[in-house]
Amino acid sequence: MESLLELAWVVTLLPLLSAAAIAAFGKQLPGKGSELGIAALAITWLLSIGIAWQTFSAGTPEPFERAFEWSPLGGGFIFELGMLVDGLTAMMFLLVTTVSLMVHIYSREYMKGEPRFTYFYAMLSLFTFSMLLLVIANNTLLAVVGWELVGLCSFLLIGFYWEDKSNQDAANKAFLTTKFGDVGLIVGVIVLSAGMFGTGTSTPFNIQETNAAAMAGELSTGTIVLGMLLIFLGCVSKSGQMPLHVWLPDAMAGPTPVSALIHAATMVTAGIFLLARLFPVLAQSATVMAVIAIVGVITLFFGGLLALVQDDLKKVLAYSTVSQLGYMIAAIGVGGYTASIFHLFTHGFFKALLFLGAGSLIHAVHSNNMSDMGGMRKPMPHTFWTFIIGSLALAGFPLTAGFFSKDEILIAGDLWAGQGFMTGNLVYWVGLAAAFVTTFYMARACFLVFAGENRSHHAPHESGPQMVAPLMLLAVLSIASGYLLSPFSSQEFNFENWTATPFVEDATYPFIDAEASGGGVLAAGGQSIMAAADGEFTILHGVPTWHFDLLAIVLVVFAAAVFLAYRFYGKGLPERDPTLNMGAATTVLVNKYGFDAFGYRYIVVPVRDTLAKWATWSSNVVIDGMVAGAGRATKNAAFATYRVLDQRVIDGGVNGAAFSAAWWSDRLKRIQSGDVQRYAGALVAGTIVLVLAIAAVR
């Protein structure tokens, strides 16, 4: 079935064609263009499933690369247009097309009646194309093209309601913040490619060649550290890592389906994808990995805390996205290649589910705020159960997809710690702490939205089938996707084998000292630690086994968090559900109240009210203030540059030359007095001087 991989370019190209077609004659069609987009996406989805199946069933698939020269760049170097299809690509294909298709279907109802409905669909398709281009690219330059295009689509979609200034600002902020990171990405790509010049290749941007060169030690340490750190800067901004995450919550100004597609499942994961693509390169440097891990850890914890104090449901989800992306980044930084992209995969489904669920709620009550919701369980049953499944997966409840993927990350951290790296411990313990936070805020959100009384001014009703069906499918995937890499999955055909490219498999950590670490081998994700045959430190893989100690901790954390949330936010329940309330009130409240109060006063209040507020403040005031301040300072500098330096100094110099010429000529012209006798005097005087000069010379 080689033929299906050959068709991978169709997956990428079809959304572009549909975008063009929608833009051209979408308005004349009965569905205003939406049917075109859905049809194209359905085809690409089916193709993606085929490609995914083909690569999955191949065990560890050989990368399939096809490229041809697109343009010379001078100096004998070539820009290739090419595709690289392996397990990682196929996985991203599956994720992107699935979520995109769901969003396309969902938006038919959600966006109904919008004046720019057709434009919206064209942009959705264009975005899908850009994201798939980034995924399929066989060279970093092409990836940069896709990367920038998704940024543009994101900008256009965040600013979809451009009549409001706040939305324009949000769009600009998103574009500029990510563009700032792109400086890093572009310079990083340039640095890496410059490092490739030494290998004599004519395609210095080629990803496979770069990986191979890095593993063969042909790239200098300086190139790797500088290049990867700069590329990581791009990932920090695109994937919403601290401190460049500030754009992501604001990006919620866009329509909710856009948030689901772009700011939860696909675009924000581009950074993780790119790091995974270049994993063999970054694995060469302990520095790079440590930086990545630390940024990830900071983000996953503090990002999560921020979600505690939000009232806007979408912002809760946005901050949780920041936090979950932090998990993925941190996992990369501790060698958890598989863990990271596995979490990317599962998170894509359940976060898209949560956003679409939130969209359904918002559609019903016409407000983003949880304080305007409440009691939604009954009028919106489907939304309710799908949202709960999504929340459970996000919180890492056992046997959901989030449980398997997040545990992989924690275990990867543990293993890394076993090699003597502090960052491993950090990821493990902070990751656990953040799991508590995650569970708490999701439980809070669920209680506030679904429990209690209806506080909205509308009579909520369940959304139509076009919105509910995607929710259901995504709910199923939010559980099922986890079993691709679980103790239940096949030893031969599992997520790890699927996405581990040969390069990743062969990648080594040159900075680990074989003697000191006792000859252990690091697993990329699974916890099977096997002795290396030849003492090389190879990234291996395998299916995880049960870790009952970790399971126990996770369960306790989960229960504690939910319970706490319930204590504080389930208060409206007695009138609506007396039995449950009674039991809780009698058994739990009476016996454990002192502990609760203590926990509330000394744990929850400081964490929720002080620490989180401080974090919010630091994000909103300090970091955002720095961003805004940088903007203001830039603006002031700009005005100063223009008014003083340009207009006065430089242009003043130019004009000054002209003016001084005029000034001098005004003085000098007075010699030309028209008085002939003075001329005569000057003539004779000049003669005297000449005579004297000649006499002096002789």
């Binding site: 697109w70 343009s71 010379p72 760049l73 001078g74 100096g75 004998g76 170097f77 820009f79 330059l141 940069v144 093209v145 920038e148 295009l149 543009l152 900008f155 600013g159 451009w162 009549e163 409001d164 200034k165 324009q168 600002d169 600009n172 574009f175 500029l176 563009k179 700032f180 792109d182 400086v183 572009i186 310079v187 340039i190 640095v191 490619s193 410059a194 010049f197 830039t634 603006k635 500098a637 700009a638 005005f639 540059t641 223009y642 008014r643 330096l645 340009d646 430089i650 242009d651 130019v654 004009n655 002209a658």
Partner: protein
């Protein structure tokens, strides 16, 4: 048409506008319409001829001169009438004829006060010959004549059809660029006498290079540097540009940005580098630093502008900074990037000036604050076009602006001709700052779009009747809009044509 023997085609194409200008001057002023149509016909025929030349250009030998003419001209000073065209000249030559043709079409409907289409169009045709000749002249004297020929029509275009401060702007433009070209001429003379081969031929001198002492090379390069850098314009020689652009009529701005500025970079690539390689290498770091200052500085100045047209003018400073950064890299990729950036900037900024001109005609102001937003509501098609071109200008991949910028930065990371050993750190810093410049560029364009395009239109415009894009504007702009997309997707259209010629050129530099 055989590119080896059909030198006459180039000569005809070159002087057809000149003859046309004479013919227009003969027509009575009262035949307003006929004059405008005649100009369209003349430029159209010239463009068609250039299209035929392009089609019959032998792309497999794009490194060699084709359509050559080499006739005795002023034998007393050894100046020869030497014309030719290679892969470097062709895109610029083509662009000149395309833009002039479009400008002629545009002028059939739009002509600023005080009218007088006969004088305006005759000057435009004269300008065309000057611009096109610069790109195909291969004799230094001939080159210089075409170079100076350009000044006069542009001076009158700005001085007669310009805005309120036209006198100041036109005189400044004329004197400033003339000032530079004097030094250039001195450098030419120094080269002629130092080479001692009794030839002004660019090809011959390039093949002889390097000659003369290092001191000579440095001084001669300094002279050329002044001439070309003012034309580009590089920071800090840029101040004539915003004034000239702001005051010039739309067509003048388009040609100024689209072609005139390119003469400077073309001069660097065609003359300064191959003839004075040692001087070029000595100056390269300076050029790079000035270029990057120009990028950041231009962007900062753009942020401070309140006038749309002036903003676009300052954006040229930044974009030409990328072009010069490519030249400063002194390697093939850098030259490629510079020449690509040239073309891309010509099309995109030319288009932006068309848009700014139309904006002024609709709103009768170019002040951003007075326009006040809401253009997407008031004139949606126009708003979309502005967004499209602005996004192209800020260097989005997939559109023309990206390739020049990215390739320039990419080339600058590993400068050629031994510069990498000495200045690796400096060039890395240049790349970083250039990349930061792209963010600032994005910043001012987005801010412009936000203030002009988005939101609701202010009250004063709500009941105003404003036309959306008109037919004549579609006709004029569509080729440019398509070219922006085509060059973005198929950079090979320019890179491929230039490749062999640039390799050839680098051969002279010893790189």
């Amino acid at each position: 048409m055989d590119p080896n023997t059909a030198g006459w085609a180039l000569v005809v194409a070159l002087f057809l506008p000149l003859v046309g200008a004479g013919a227009l001057a003969m027509m009575p002023s009262s035949m307003d319409r006929q004059i405008r149509r005649a100009a369209v016909v003349i430029t159209g025929v010239a463009f068609a001829l250039v299209a035929v030349i392009t089609a019959s250009f032998d792309f497999s030998r794009s490194g060699e001169l084709q359509f050559t003419t080499d006739a005795s001209w002023i034998s007393a000073i050894d100046a020869r009438f030497e014309l030719g065209m290679d892969g470097i000249s062709l895109p610029l030559f083509f662009l000149t004829y395309l833009l002039t043709f479009l400008c002629a079409i545009y002028t059939t409907k739009h002509l600023p006060s005080p009218g007088k289409p006969k004088a305006f169009l005759a000057l435009m045709l004269l300008l065309q010959t000057g611009m096109a000749g610069t790109f195909v002249a291969f004799d230094l004297v001939l080159f210089f004549i075409f170079w100076e020929l350009v000044l006069v029509p542009m001076f009158f275009m700005i001085g007669m059809w310009g805005g309120p401060r036209r006198d100041y702007a036109s005189v400044k433009f004329f004197l400033y660029t003339l000032f530079g070209s004097i030094f250039m001429l001195i450098a030419f003379l120094a080269i002629y006498f130092t080479a001692g081969a009794n030839t002004w031929s660019i090809q011959a001198l390039s093949e002889m290079a390097p000659f003369g002492s290092t001191t000579f090379q440095t001084w001669a390069f300094l002279g050329m540097f002044l001439g070309f850098a003012i034309k580009v314009p590089m920071w800090p020689f840029h101040t004539w540009l915003p004034d000239a652009h702001t005051e010039a009529p739309t067509v003048g701005s388009v040609l100024l940005a689209g072609v005139l500025l390119k003469m400077g970079t073309y001069g660097f690539v065609r003359i300064a580098l191959p003839i004075l390689p040692e001087g070029a290498v000595r100056f390269a770091p300076l050029i790079g630093v000035l270029a990057v200052i120009g990028i950041v500085y231009g962007a900062l100045c753009c942020l401070a502008q309140t006038d749309v047209k002036r903003l676009i003018a300052f954006s040229s400073v930044g974009h030409m900074g990328f072009v010069m950064l490519g030249i400063a890299a002194m390697n093939e990729a850098g030259i490629q990037a510079a020449l690509f950036g040239n073309i891309a900037h010509g099309i995109i900024t030319g288009m932006l000036f068309f848009l700014a001109g139309s904006l002024h005609e609709r709103y009768h102001t170019r002040e951003i604050a007075v326009i006040g937003g809401g253009m997407l509501k008031k004139i949606p098609r126009y708003g979309v076009l502005l967004t499209y071109v602005a996004v192209a200008s800020l260097g989005l991949p997939g559109l023309a602006g990206f390739w020049g910028e990215f390739t320039a930065m990419w080339a600058a990371i590993s400068p050629g001709l031994g510069l990498a050993d000495q200045y690796a750190g400096l060039y890395l810093g240049l790349v970083v700052f250039a990349a930061i410049g792209t963010v600032l560029t994005a910043g001012y364009f987005l801010w412009l779009l936000q203030r002009v395009n988005l939101g609701d239109p202010p009250e004063r415009w709500v009941n105003e009747q404003l036309d959306d894009v008109m037919t004549i504007e579609w006709v004029t702009w569509l080729p440019l809009l398509l070219l922006i997309l085509a060059l973005g997707i198929f950079p090979v259209l320019v890179f491929g044509v230039q490749d062999a010629a640039v390799t050839n050129l680098m051969g002279y530099l010893g790189g």
